[in-house]
């Protein structure tokens, strides 16, 4: 009698997967597992019911990734000609008509040759003097381009392309790089053959030493403690003209502590510490002025920040009069703003009763003006 061994079931599972019969494959695999490990019914976790089963339609809506073996690639096709139309309408503004633009992103096309298509290695990648590394120079898998265009492009309207448009745009890019001819139509049927013409298909190495936590690093430093090898030569530093390339560093460091940021708007000085200190203090006081700025700060915020609301409300008397009462009293009085400003600043007593109004010297002139204006508008 014929018996299906574990090994055979695994092999069968693999074959069926390769043939695209995933359902049968997983069944075979499940059987293999069941056989290999007699099921011990583990107690279900108390949280096992959280979440819910995903529906087939939900999975279809989100499972958009296309793998290097083209698992996940939807059926469809698109011509270079159609691709050019889509490209010029939706892609060229960022990437340039020929995928060469450096305006927004790095170029997509350029730097690959017919010879590269034969060898699968982009020769220019080995040249230290070659100025740019384009997408077509680097990419090893055509599936990656399909996947990324489909999920993320156009940049400001991702996932808006139809499946056939994705094929077409990719066909256009491949034609610019001369991977396919100008009359080519790319489809799910011929994309595997196109992979065999990708210029850098062989230019990759899966480097597992930096993939696994247990891997071994390729460059190891030294643990020498005394008289170690060093040439003490400064091999590289920023040129003088790039001193302020990242702005004034005085404004990028704290205003207290053992250090200040260098004032890079000035040339290095014999005593930069003094300069740096002055620059950071200046920068900080400007910052504080901006932070205290009243131009945009609303009156109610100033009233809140200055603790006015502890004693005043907009529409009812608390310790002091309501802002409405104040506005009513001084309606039409041209000098009211100045007078009230002085009262808020210096404090006062008697107009509204015996309880004195405390002075508020901490209020800046602009804050004072804004809050008084706000009060005279009855706290609107």
């Amino acid at each position: 009698m014929f018996r299906c061994t574990d090994r055979m079931r695994h092999v069968l599972a693999g074959l069926l997967t390769a043939a695209g019969l995933a359902g049968y494959a997983s069944q075979a695999r499940a059987q293999a597992q069941a056989q290999a490990k007699p099921a011990v019914a583990a107690a279900p976790k108390p949280w096992a019911q959280l979440g819910r089963v995903a529906t087939a339609d939900e999975i279809k809506a989100w499972d958009i990734d296309v793998r290097a073996d083209f698992k996940g690639l939807p059926a469809g096709s698109g011509s270079v000609e159609k691709g050019q139309e889509v490209w010029e309408a939706k892609c060229a503004s960022c990437h340039g008509i020929f995928g060469e633009s450096t305006e927004v992103f790095t170029p997509i096309v350029g730097g690959t040759t017919k010879e590269d298509i034969k060898t699968g290695r982009v020769a220019n990648l080995a040249r230290p003097d070659y100025p740019q590394r384009t997408t077509m120079m680097k990419v090893s898998q055509v599936s990656t381009l399909w996947d990324y265009i489909n999920r993320a492009m156009p940049w400001n309207a991702p996932k808006s392309l139809q499946t056939d448009e994705v094929y077409a745009v990719l066909a256009y890019i491949l034609s610019l790089a001369e991977v396919v001819p100008e009359d080519f139509t790319l489809s799910d049927k011929n994309i595997a053959a196109v992979q065999q013409r990708m210029p850098n298909r062989n230019g990759k190495l899966v480097y597992t030493e930096m993939w696994k936590v247990s891997g071994k690093p390729d460059v190891q430093g030294s643990t020498c403690m005394k008289n170690c090898a060093t040439d003490m030569d400064v091999r590289s530093m920023l040129p003088e003209h790039a001193r302020d390339s990242h702005g004034n560093l005085a404004e990028q460091n704290r205003v207290v502590g053992p250090f200040r940021g260098a004032d890079t708007l000035q040339a290095p000085s014999a005593n930069p510490a003094v300069l740096a200190k002055a620059a950071t203090t200046k920068a900080a006081s400007e910052t504080v002025q901006i932070a205290k700025g009243t131009a945009q700060k609303p009156g109610d915020q100033i009233a809140k920040d200055a603790n006015c609301l502890a004693c005043h409300a907009v529409d009812r008397k608390l310790v002091g009069p309501s802002f409405k009462e104040i506005a009513e009293k001084y309606k039409g009085d041209a000098k009211a703003a100045e007078m009230l400003g002085a009262k808020v600043r210096n404090g006062g007593q008697g107009v509204w009763g015996a309880i004195p109004m405390p002075a508020n010297p901490q209020l800046g002139a602009e804050d004072l003006q804004s809050v008084v204006k706000w009060i005279l508008e009855a706290g609107r």
């Binding site: 599972a13 997983s26 695999r29 976790k45 979440g51 819910r52 089963v53 995903a54 939900e58 999975i59 989100w62 499972d63 992103f105 020769a123 080995a126 230290p128 680097k138 090893s140 898998q141 990656t144 996947d147 999920r151 993320a152 991702p158 190495l205 930096m210 993939w211 696994k212 936590v213 690093p217 460059v219 190891q220 643990t223 020498c224 170690c228 003490m232 400064v234 590289s236 530093m237 920023l238 390339s245 990242h246 702005g247 990028q252 502590g257 053992p258 250090f259 200040r260 260098a262 014999a270 930069p272 510490a273 200190k277 950071t280 900080a284 910052t287 809140k304 920040d305 508020n360 901490q362």
Partner: protein, 442 residues
Amino acid sequence: MDHESRVPGRIRKAPENTLTPELQVQARKARRSFMGKALAMGAGASAAANARAASGDPKILNLPTHSTTLGQPVAARAYGTPSVWEKNLQRRESPGLTRVSAASVSFTPLQGLFGIITPNGLHFERHHQGWYDIDPSGHRLMVMGMVKSPRVFTMDDLMRLPAVSRIHFIECGANTGMEWGNVAVPTVQYSHGMLSCCEYTGVRLSTLLDMVGADTKNARYVLAEGADGSSMTRTISIDAALDDVMVAWAMNGEMLRPENGYPLRLVVPGVQGVSWVKYLRRIEVGDKPFHTKDEVIHYVDLMPDGTHRQFTSVQEVKSVITTPSGGQVLLDKGYYNVTGLAWSGRGRIKRVDVSFDGGRNWRTARLEGAVLSKALTRFNIDWVWDGSPAILQSRAIDETGHVQPKINQLRAVRGTRSIYHNNAIQSWKVSETGEVFNVQVY
């Protein structure tokens, strides 16, 4: 109860009328006599002060406004913000690095931070297609692929699951990437600022994989996918997925910031930041790597012969002195507490050595506080600056014995044209004037 006493926060009259009229008279007399004495004494003191100028710090001699006026009330800022005096310490873009700010990076100001935790507002940012502030009630996570039962989780579901909290660093694979060929930036913010460290709270990915019945026998990889425009995808090894990878909703005690993936992100300890997929919407279990854009076109290490190393993910042992560092100025000669950060994607930091003479001689620094696996570690070391030029370096060693290399050692193997995984020893040159410069020394 009358109206006045029901209004909260009111100042009420002292209950003087509870005293008898006789007692009130006595009390008034006593008060007058006390005030009279006090006034006389005060006048005498001020006369003495007028006689000679007070000597000392005016900041002490003259009381400032904040000592003589009323301060701000509670909750004046419903969500607190740093002092205005700290405005200099901000996330900043590196000029000219990228062309569009929605596909760009902002750097953490390491030169001004303390300890190992990065404040949420200063965490570095890297966006590929802009950031969103996603409504958490509409966010879903789907776990599918080679699983018995694909599931969908809401945030309500996820936040009910058994949670863990872990402190880990996150470093972009391109951190220090501009320095492969030569010095390109002036300060530690731009050279090392794609680095942050937070306490993350979330559920272990292994818990979710268990719930869906992942086929861990045959699965080799998982794909993580974001919900943003670029739907960022990265392949994670099943070993990591079953080990310490987390699906996190919180950082440093509050929910994730929108710039950092609110409401859900992947945390892949020790692995470069691009794998920590933000706005996480989907996990797919598979048996092959997925070859996503950021595994095939970007985040590949270009070797001198033109080969691209793919799937280089672990962040190697690395350290940097954060103060003093490039662009800073030492205010005087004398004692300094030199401080910095060390980290390794392979585990704990075992030791940090510091050199003040460009790598000729080294001293071992003090490791401060908790030394955690795959987390930033703070180090400190004493230094007395005598005013002569010095070159400061730090060198970390992790628990696997890996020693941080010099830039020339890295270049000898990997050349100068790579962008990623530069874990070289950083050199800061202190000039005679006290100004500190970013330099490279062999």
